[in-house]
Symmetry: C2
Subunit: 256 residues, 2 copies
Amino acid sequence: MTFPSRLEQTAKRNKSNIILALDFPFEKVEQRQKLLFTAQKVLDAAHPFLCAVKINHHLTLPLGLFDGVQGLVQKAHDLGLLAVMDCKVNDIGATNQVIAEYYYSAGFDALIANPFIGWEEGLKPIFDVADKTQRGVILLVYMSHKGALDGYGQTVVDAETGEKTSQYIIFAKKALQYKADGAIVGATYPEKIREIRQILEEKVPIISPGIGAQGGEVEAAVKAGAKYLIVGRAVAQATNPATAAKEFRDRADQAL
Amino acid sequence: MTFPSRLEQTAKRNKSNIILALDFPFEKVEQRQKLLFTAQKVLDAAHPFLCAVKINHHLTLPLGLFDGVQGLVQKAHDLGLLAVMDCKVNDIGATNQVIAEYYYSAGFDALIANPFIGWEEGLKPIFDVADKTQRGVILLVYMSHKGALDGYGQTVVDAETGEKTSQYIIFAKKALQYKADGAIVGATYPEKIREIRQILEEKVPIISPGIGAQGGEVEAAVKAGAKYLIVGRAVAQATNPATAAKEFRDRADQAL
């Protein structure tokens, strides 16, 4: 079964389209056991209101992929959730292949990659490893931060048509062409979600980060066409992660 | 002292402008102790012919940043080399800040970032952490693989002048504007090195990966304006890493 099918099935079963980003502030390495406990505690509390967790270098760097993080991925699976590695891969092919093999072998169901690296000796080796191991590749199409305008928002001369086009439109078309398993579009830019959704239709699900701390709104993102919503600090660093996750889940549920 | 000054001083003292990329193939996690030994052995053998080592996820993922890799960084320092983390950071600001703090706290003298993320809530937090900790930020300007053409080589409408410009020219100008501590330009594209060098002059040193396995030539890269050369597999995976490193060092020495 493909990653999008598995994610959809999990979302239906768990009655949630919320992906929790387990993002925590920098901690001294001496504190990493505490950090791991915190991550486990948040996951335990919030899991009934999630379909997946997303892990970033906030955890892989202090804990180690095969030391702390692999256990968290296993825990997510045990709790009936999928696990996405937000590594935003953007290296040369030989390195991307090794990166994909490590993350998938640690159990991740999908990883996030940056289409800016191009196809040949860039994205292709990632998709090859994903095909071989039956995992997913999610492509960045428009990120959630202010500076996204400089890159994702820039105007580009389309290499095929010669026409001026927005970078994110080109990325959206590539997501379709490469049969990506998801497209990241910041919830902070609902108008971009709408435009990208017109290209992707039902073929590539839009996954929107930036809900909560970054100012993205569940309702606006969903209305514009986002299928899954990524919430990070607003749940992971909440006083009561379960309550916070439930609230986002309910709002998404109502909006979808 | 700034990173470029320290790198220049180290290169003079060690009589080498070669940076060794400690890149190894994917290994099962059970083999990671062997992988660490191999990395240590290669570093021990090749260090007299180097000014720095570059570490990528080939090692951080299996070994862990604070388990195996921090020790390798320490070893590089003990051997009189600098250590660069090739993480190609390209996330949102809050995450980039955490990533930079972890890598610098593990001892890295500089890290590599992707200017595609833009400045605000993108590169700025990385430069802020680098300033605070007196470390370096090296920006990608043109990568060494084939697919680099799709992104780094695309034609962009310059947001300031409205003119059609190559993406890498915009990145080179940003490297200058942001006072980057180095610019990555693939040795596989000497004509790009030449063009970028005209923009950067002596202000931002060009560091060229892709020498050896990827087909880049020391002489062509140096003649075009590269100051430092990154060699990976051709040394790290050579039967005799010392001989291989010495050969690249001698060729660079002659060309510089």
